[in-house]
Amino acid sequence: MADSDASTPVVQVEGLVKRIGRVRAVDGLDLVVRRGQVMGLAGPNGSGKSVTLKVLLGLVRPTAGQVRLFGEPVRPGAPVLARVGALIDGPGFVPHLSGLDNLRLAQRLARRSRAAARAELAEVVEVAGLGRAIRRAYSTYSHGMRYRLGLAQALLGRPDLLLLDEPTTGLDPAHILEVREVIAAAARRGATVLLSSHLLSEVEHVCTHAAVMQEGRLVTSGPVGELVGPAGTVHLAVDDPMGAARVLRAVPGVRGISVEDGAVRAAGDDLRPLALFGALATAGVRVLAFREGRSLEDAYLALVKGRRLAPPDPPADEGGSRGSPDVCGRPPEP
């Protein structure tokens, strides 16, 4: 096999260009995904993520550039595609057949012994988690049920590479967690995952690595931890930002304070949120919410606004050129 060398990238995209009409949907993309990575292809709608995944599946012909999976060039019908499971542009099944029959049909494409096929089918039916509804016509399924069946189909054959396009779209929080667990389980058994999402928080939660696209180009890529930067900051949503800033400057370890859109960002070494909460409580400032570090979304926004990516800006008061910090989490009662 071409990928006998473990160092061969699972996905290798070089100078990919795809024109659709007059639009350059993908514009010179270079991307490498290595074995075992869970790579998030992030970016706003229309940034070229889905088209890139379709090129990887041999569904769309590149205008220029090269695409390889496991070291083999991708073209329509390439044998290497048998090693790929995909959920692209939403699920697609025969509407008058049951979910189970649809999975059986999809399974027929792979040559397996009957026993292996049965075990594998039971496995993915479990992933779909549709209960008795698995025997109902697909046309009667809700949006969420269809996505879960789509994910189950993607896992048929225990693919070495999973290509997932917005896999949690329209799912409720419980099912989003299930999908994340499925992705994590696939990664644990050694599969490589490339998933696209316009939700950077999704990528941050699920992926080990991220590549951010905008207008068909790669903005940045790397391990999520590196992209997000060190967690030497604490964001605090408070009822009196200016008062909080005065109080926090006096807290040991705080090297800088900035106030942005009603929130305070404290930067420093070894910051302890409880110490900050205590100081604020003593001063009568109420903490509404807090978050440590910065999100991938912050990093992305900073990047596309011309700021340098990680580490965070030097701790100093600055104008609110950035959007409102995405604070989350509830503080403990002081």
Binding site: I20, K54, L57, G58, L59, V60, R61, P76, G77, A78, P79, V80, L81, A82, V84, A86, I88, D89, G90, P91, G92, F93, V94, P95, H96, L97, D101, L105, A106, R108, L109, A110, R111, Q153
Partner: protein, 287 residues
């Protein structure tokens, strides 16, 4: 290789044979043939039916074997082209509309193989549609009209004083009916190929189906028999001479124009199936 091809054909067959649409279409054709039998029986014995442009003069109450001749004549210009257009037009576009086309291709199924499987299954259903009409007509006519020789009067060669009647024993009549069905089936191949090509171009099956039916209608409109001014175009229209099989029931048999018609069908098939293969192999599957 061969195993993979068989798997794709089996998958396609399973999909199409589980579709209510398949049975509705075939059922409607069989139902039409049976309804025709009932209607012809209700008109009473001795009623003469004028079939086709010759015309053939048939008395349905004399034999069940007259019914398939009338049924084929009644369905070959619209119902059969419609059925064939449905099967061919939905073959690829239907799968694209379901969203499952990208998953078939995304699993590494070769586009040529998938197209061949879809074409083969759609062709099989189209053959079933053409065969079903005379079979249902014969089956429906046996009880009311009996199993007797087929008597066909050549309306073009008859005068009030002398009838040019040909009598065909049941076995021979069945053989000629078989040839007639094959000829009608061959006449559907141009429509099949055109609708199948459209099916690879659009993701809306209705457009491909309408295209097949539209070609049939265009063919009937540009017919020099009714509109002499289009004599240049008329020989190129794929459906104009689909009724020449009726000459198989004349004595002696007239085969003028049949070869031209069959060659024309082959040309349409070669062009449009070739285009379908060329286009489907290159198109971006975005749906």
């Amino acid at each position: 290789m061969r195993q993979a091809a068989r798997a794709v054909i089996r998958i396609e067959l399973a999909k199409q044979l589980s579709r209510p649409r398949t049975y509705l279409t075939l059922g409607a054709l069989a139902g039409f043939a049976l309804a025709l039998t009932v209607a012809l029986g209700a008109t009473g014995p001795g009623q003469v039916e004028h079939v086709g442009d010759i015309p053939l003069l048939l008395v349905p109450s004399t034999s069940a074997l007259t019914i398939p001749v009338i049924a084929l004549s009644s369905t070959m210009k619209f119902f059969l082209p419609l059925a064939v257009s449905v099967f061919a037009g939905e073959a690829v576009a239907g799968e694209a509309r379901w969203g499952s086309l990208r998953y078939m291709l995304g699993r590494g199924v070769s586009r040529s193989r998938l197209l061949a499987a879809k074409g083969a299954v759609a062709a099989l259903l189209s053959v079933a549609a053409v065969a079903l009409v005379p079979i249902a007509a014969v089956a429906g006519g046996i009880v009311p009209f009996g199993w007797h020789p087929l008597v066909a009067v050549d309306g073009s060669a008859s005068s009030p004083l002398q009838q040019a009647a040909a009598t065909f024993q049941p076995g021979e009549a069945l053989a000629r009916l078989g040839l007639a069905a094959v000829y009608v089936g061959a006449g559907m191949t141009s429509i099949f190929a055109f609708a199948f090509f459209l099916s690879t171009v659009t993701t809306r099956p209705l457009v491909a189906v309408a295209g097949g039916v539209g070609l049939t209608i265009l063919s009937r409109v540009l017919n020099a028999d009714y509109l002499p001014g289009v004599a240049v175009l008329s020989p190129l229209m794929p459906n104009n001479d689909v009724d020449l099989w009726q000459h198989l029931f004349q004595q002696p048999v007239q085969t003028d124009g049949m070869l031209h018609f069959l060659v024309l069908q082959a040309a349409y098939v070669a062009v449009f199936l070739g285009l379908a293969w060329w286009w489907f192999g290159r198109r971006d599957v975005l749906a």
